[in-house]
Symmetry: none
Subunit: 279 residues, 2 copies
DNA sequence: GTTAAATTTTTCATATTGTGAAATACAGTT
DNA sequence: AACTGTATTTCACAATATGAAAAATTTAAC
């Protein structure tokens, strides 16, 4: 009968939770779950602890921590080494966490580009984004060289002492940059780390001008890193690509060649995600 | 007085949980936590779902699921896209899960799996990776039989005449495969060795389709080998597990049984290193 | 070998708190 | 403006998470 064309367009947005919802939340959390997650989170930082240590550190009763761990163990989120009686993060936690990467196609798009970059430069290639004022490494393709840079995906690193971090900071708008600087003290990791805001500011200026960032042993002695920003459709720097290796192979003479490759890779990825370099 | 030097050596092993502990566990889990983790786990599989969908799928009350999600959100384990009202895995989950990688060694993880594989098939089980266009054998668990296959850890072998090699080649992307083929001539070791690139290509096609590779006396006369690929977090084939033995015991009739065991072992190892089969 | 010490599990009584049903708030749709 | 299908909150109650302390288990010391 009614041949009325159902529009059948999925609603843009569901109905219910207020758009700006952000404040309350406090009463609606589950306390025991939150405590359990605190254990989970803490374990990821200090792996290889015995139960008693964890309980002490977290100021919880051993019985409770024990039950939390056993429960998580049942799902593979946590592992128990029965030889040493120590607790670790389990493989399932990694698989679940990796679900985060699937949200954006950034990693998928980046992977072949990173591989090519690694092959052309011979050094480990990395992809990172900013997350809560830190650099979060999402993925990497390792070099075959036996001496190599290594920070596994999932590592959080300070922005001011990281190639990708500086590449991202250099393209942050002044407002946010100021807030970022105010929010923290610039910790020194080596004698080369830029700890003066002014020095960092000047460096970022340079970085922006030349199009790539250099981390010259500012985080780890003996390690250099060259990074370039990746732009999204709004011309915002949302990620960074870098190449890192020992100073011996990343000498200043090699900078020009390598930086060219890095910038090319970053541009390629920008294009691949629908973004583009600022003209 | 007592100048007795306190040994001060940390105890090798704590005391308490029985060494073989494995069975009970059932009563000591926290139900609500386990339910919450079920939500967490499910979300990682089907990201971008609205609350109502998750609640339906998991057969839980929306209120409960809601509270679980809000709690996890508080720790960044989960994220809510308020534009679309959809839930996702959060960055913190990735960071925590990545803790797993900090202590995972392929060989360590493989060892118990290889042993079980050997026991179930009765033949020598091997683990290998690709190294500069060759297969590098990392580890093996030998059979008790007196006639046995033997290649010690550290052995390098041509990929085209090796079960593991072919399993790896079969899952290499076309680009890399082409380059690999161009880079070498396919040496003949026996009259069965595949020396024609076309023949090898067809074989790899088959290998991919059935999920395991067969080396039928292609390297050593009288020796057969069945291998399956191990995938890492990027769904790339990074290693292979194989079982090898004399043709007498590895007859075609036995192929089905053995290949099943090999594939199971490979999948188990994939899971154990945080990877997984392509869906 | 025996005992002591250290650590992990289990038990148990209790109150905390997680739970679902149903009411309410909200954003689109008609 | 009323309606509809979501997401939140309320509420009353039972489920169950909890810590203290006991038991179990292993290692180290004697």
């Amino acid at each position: 009968m009614e041949s009325v064309e159902k529009p059948d367009i999925a609603p843009r947005r569901a109905r219910g939770r207020p758009r700006d919802w952000a404040d309350k939340t406090a009463q609606n959390t589950i306390k025991s779950l939150d405590r359990a997650m605190a254990v989970f989170e803490y374990l990821s930082e200090v792996q290889g602890q015995p139960l008693s240590q964890l309980a002490t550190d977290l100021q919880q009763s051993p019985a409770t921590v024990y039950r939390i761990l056993v429960t998580l163990e049942g799902r593979g989120l946590v592992e128990f080494d029965s030889e040493e009686q120590l607790w670790y993060i389990g493989p399932r936690a990694f698989v679940i966490g990796a679900g985060f990467l699937r949200r954006t196609s950034l990693v998928d798009r980046a992977r072949p580009i990173l591989r090519k970059l690694m092959e052309r430069t011979g050094e480990t290639a990395n992809l990172g984004v900013e997350k809560e004022g830190m650099v979060l490494f999402l993925n990497q393709v390792e070099t075959h060289e036996s001496i190599r840079a290594f920070f596994p995906p999932g590592t959080l690193s300070d922005m001011h002492a990281s190639g990708i971090g500086k590449a991202l900071l250099a393209h942050m708008d002044q407002e946010r940059l100021k807030r970022w600087v105010r929010g923290r003290s610039l910790q020194a990791f080596t004698s080369y780390t830029l700890v003066q805001p002014e020095a960092l500011g000047a460096e970022l200026e340079q970085t922006r001008a030349r199009g790539f960032a250099i981390d010259a042993e500012e985080k780890n002695l003996g390690m250099r890193c060259i990074a370039a920003p990746v732009f999204d459709m709004n011309r915002e720097a949302v990620a960074g690509i870098s190449v890192s290796g020992p100073t011996s192979r990343m000498a200043p003479e090699a900078t020009k060649r390598i930086s060219g490759e890095v910038m090319r890779a970053a541009e390629e990825l920008s294009t691949a995600i629908g973004g583009g370099q600022v003209r």
